[in-house]
């Protein structure tokens, strides 16, 4: 965004790497970047404008706000509306529409909904408001899970019984498998999300690359990182290789952060989870283990569920699976805008539709 963002040297290197991508590309390839942070950065730097025409970047389901199910959002609204509750969430989530309302709307109607920057902030709120029930909306990929696990362990150790979470975390590898095994899959290769791999490593991806004959390259978030990830992916595709490679070695190792992984395993276990616009993916979410059920808001609150219907006009499901581009949607930038989102990908800055809306290039 400014001169300090990228050095002259890294601008030069990025351009050289992209020249190399142009030089070696002979066929049409669809590359999906998993992570919403990467979608955001690609649009922000305008990297897509510098790629050869044959390369299409498909924006993946990696915006945790976007894939959080309608059911989870309705549960969040239902908990937030109950008296004596302080409902806490990362900021993005407040504007995501449920069936009829969002958390901002609930707040305007008197619910105590607060933005926190870390789940530990929610634990502190619970400590300083012992007469209230403080609930944290546990959304996000593997990146947010260690801090949520820490908050649970901290609450347990300090016997903070008025803190709980609404579990809605999701996992990357099962989503990649779901996309690759879909009959209308168009993805030839993945840029894996660097932050997720920093925690989880990339050993889990090796079986996926092999089974689906699909290159996977661990990629970072700066322009040069993304350009390198794209180059390594295209090289594999052109050479008919399908391996897991690491274009983000300054932060990611094959094994990842094992302490964090152990903490995640201690508190959570894989559960089937519904993804908004995609459907239920087996073992693609994290639920609290039996020993920590007393921190599970779903168990603690009475949560009636109404009939849930998405806007019939929104094509978020196809966008999140990479079958349609945001601009294919008839409501894109007309009925559906960041100020009046019909579907979740238009809400978060990481959402594919919102990133497209804010940063669409100029030809």
């Amino acid at each position: 965004m400014t001169s300090s963002r990228m050095s002259a040297e890294s601008i030069q290197q990025t351009k050289l790497v992209l020249n190399e991508v142009r030089r070696i590309t002979t066929k049409a390839w669809n590359i999906m970047e998993i992570c919403g942070g990467q979608t955001h950065a690609i649009m922000e730097f305008g990297l897509d404008q510098l790629l050869p025409e044959q390369i299409t970047l498909i924006h993946g389901p990696g915006c945790p706000v976007c894939v959080t199910s309608l059911e989870s959002i309705e549960r969040a609204l239902s908990i937030a509306r109950q008296p004596g509750v302080i409902f806490t969430s990362f900021g993005d989530m407040l504007r995501v529409p449920g069936a009829n309302n969002d958390l901002f709307g609930a707040r305007a109607n008197g619910a105590d909904v607060r933005v926190v920057y870390s789940p530990m902030d929610a634990v502190k709120l619970a400590q300083s408001n012992p007469e209230k029930k403080v609930v944290f909306f546990a959304i996000g990929f593997e990146t947010t899970v260690p801090s949520i696990a820490t908050s649970i362990l901290h609450a347990e150790k300090n016997q903070i019984s008025n803190f709980s979470i609404l579990p809605a975390n999701v996992l990357v590898p099962p989503a990649m498998q779901a996309i690759l095994s879909s009959p209308d899959n168009q993805v030839n290769a993945f840029l894996a999300a660097g932050h997720v791999c920093a925690i989880m490593g990339y050993w889990e991806y090796e079986a996926i690359a092999k089974q689906y004959k699909t290159p996977i390259v661990v990629t970072g978030f700066e322009a040069l990182d993304l350009a390198m990830g794209i180059l390594m992916t295209v090289r594999q595709l052109e050479q008919d290789r399908f391996e897991v490679e690491n274009a983000y070695p300054r932060y990611v190792t094959r094994e990842g952060n094992q302490t964090a992984q152990a903490m995640i395993r201690q508190v959570f276990e894989p559960v089937d989870r519904q993804w908004r616009g995609i459907g239920t993916i087996p073992k693609s979410g994290l639920g609290l283990r039996k020993e920590y059920q007393n921190f599970d808001a779903v168990q603690l609150f009475d949560l009636p569920l109404d009939d849930l219907k998405e806007s019939p006009l929104c094509i978020a499901g196809s966008v999140l699976r990479g079958i349609a581009k945001p601009t294919d949607c008839p409501t894109f930038s007309t009925l559906c805008t960041p100020s009046h989102p019909l579907g979740a990908p238009m809400v978060s800055a990481e959402g594919a539709c919102s990133a497209c809306y804010h940063y669409h290039g100029v030809n």
Binding site: T14, H40, F45, Q49, G91, G140, A349
Partner: protein, 358 residues
């Protein structure tokens, strides 16, 4: 028997407390408490010959103050910042500078202000005095006087500490044609310094950063700097302060008002490293963060160097830079040429600025 006798010696009623440390409902009732608060707190800090008359309204002798044929410029602004005190400023300084700057954006010289204070029951009078001291300093710096003021007190919980609404009055010659509708193709865009400091300073004061930084709000009265600019370059087309919504939202407004396209050069936009790091960490974009001491100047290319020189002479404009150009396309677009040479659209801020989660 004696015990039942009433003694009439000594005070039977307790004496009302008059030296409260906190605002009580009675401070807004219009009686002695109100009178004392006005005399001992408000007039002590903000007093001047007009305000101290204590009339229901201020009387201004226009002929003595204003050269004939000048136009009156009025702007009003409400201030509800939380927290009230932050690095580089407080709600008091903000309430003066915000309105002084708005009046200045039409090229006018601000002279007088009015102020309304909504105080919450229980608000510390020592905090009120700190805020008024800060307002008085800002008035002195901007050379404006508060000529009418009002105070109301709400019950505890019905407001949030203190809200301040100010109205500013200034004068401008009808020859001066400065407006958001006047950006013309070929004009250059100048901004008077680095962006986003106020927004991040307030976020830090809220405890949102989770770490300490050196970032201070840029809140400042810009009227003298702007008067200097217009004296040396009267040909300015647009002046606008990029407050809420930041540089991007403000320039989109101007592009739409003037029916032009504005193209910015990313590499020319200055952002302090601390602000950049805080924004990266929180997933915020400094181009959308609020500023309270910056001005956008749009003017014909041939006067741009002279304008830059004038701004850079002033302490608040030392880091002024040219950041972009106005082009002829009636679509009202704001475009950014990125560091990689690609071009993308910038839009208005949608709703509240929300941090991304990862």
């Amino acid at each position: 028997m004696d015990q039942n006798k009433l003694s009439l010696q000594g005070p039977l009623c307790s004496v009302p407390i008059n030296d409260h440390q906190q605002i009580v409902i009675g401070h807004g009732a219009g009686g002695n408490l109100t009178h004392d608060l006005i005399k001992t707190v408000f007039q002590k800090h903000l007093g001047n010959a007009i305000l101290n008359l204590g009339n229901d309204a201020a009387l201004l002798s226009m002929h003595a103050e204003v050269p004939q044929g000048m136009q009156l410029v009025v702007s009003t602004d409400a201030h509800i910042v939380s927290p009230l005190f932050f690095a580089g400023g407080d709600i008091g300084r903000l309430s003066i500078c915000g309105t002084v700057n708005d009046v200045s954006m039409l090229g006018a010289i601000p002279k007088y202000m009015t102020a309304t204070f909504i105080l919450e029951e229980g608000f510390l009078i020592s905090d009120l005095e700190k805020i008024l001291t800060s307002m008085a300093q800002a008035c002195l710096e901007a050379d404006v006087k508060i000529i009418a003021a009002d105070t109301k007190v709400t019950e505890k919980g019905k407001s949030d500490g203190i809200f301040i609404s100010t109205t500013g009055f200034g004068w401008v010659s009808p020859k001066r044609q400065i407006s958001g509708q006047n950006a013309k193709p070929g004009d250059l865009v100048i901004v008077s310094g680095p962006l986003g400091n106020h927004g991040i300073a307030v976020a830090e004061a809220r405890g949102n950063l989770g770490f300490q930084s050196q970032i201070r709000s840029d809140v400042a009265p810009l009227n003298h700097m702007i008067a200097g600019l217009l004296e040396s370059v009267p040909e300015v087309h647009v002046l606008r302060d990029p407050t809420r919504g930041g540089l991007a939202t403000t320039l989109v407004e101007i592009a739409k008002q003037s029916q032009v396209t504005i193209k910015l050069n990313e590499e020319d936009i200055l952002i302090d490293q601390d602000v950049r790091s805080a924004c990266d960490l929180l997933g915020l974009d400094p181009l959308y963060m609020a500023n309270e001491g910056k001005v956008i100047v749009i003017l014909p290319e041939e006067f741009a160097e002279k304008a830059l020189e004038s701004l850079q002479k002033h302490p608040y404009g030392k880091q002024a830079r040219m950041i972009g150009k106005v082009e002829s396309s009636s679509e009202g677009n704001l475009l950014l040429k990125t560091l990689l040479g690609t071009t993308r659209h910038l839009d208005r801020l949608a709703g509240e600025m929300l941090p991304r989660i990862c």
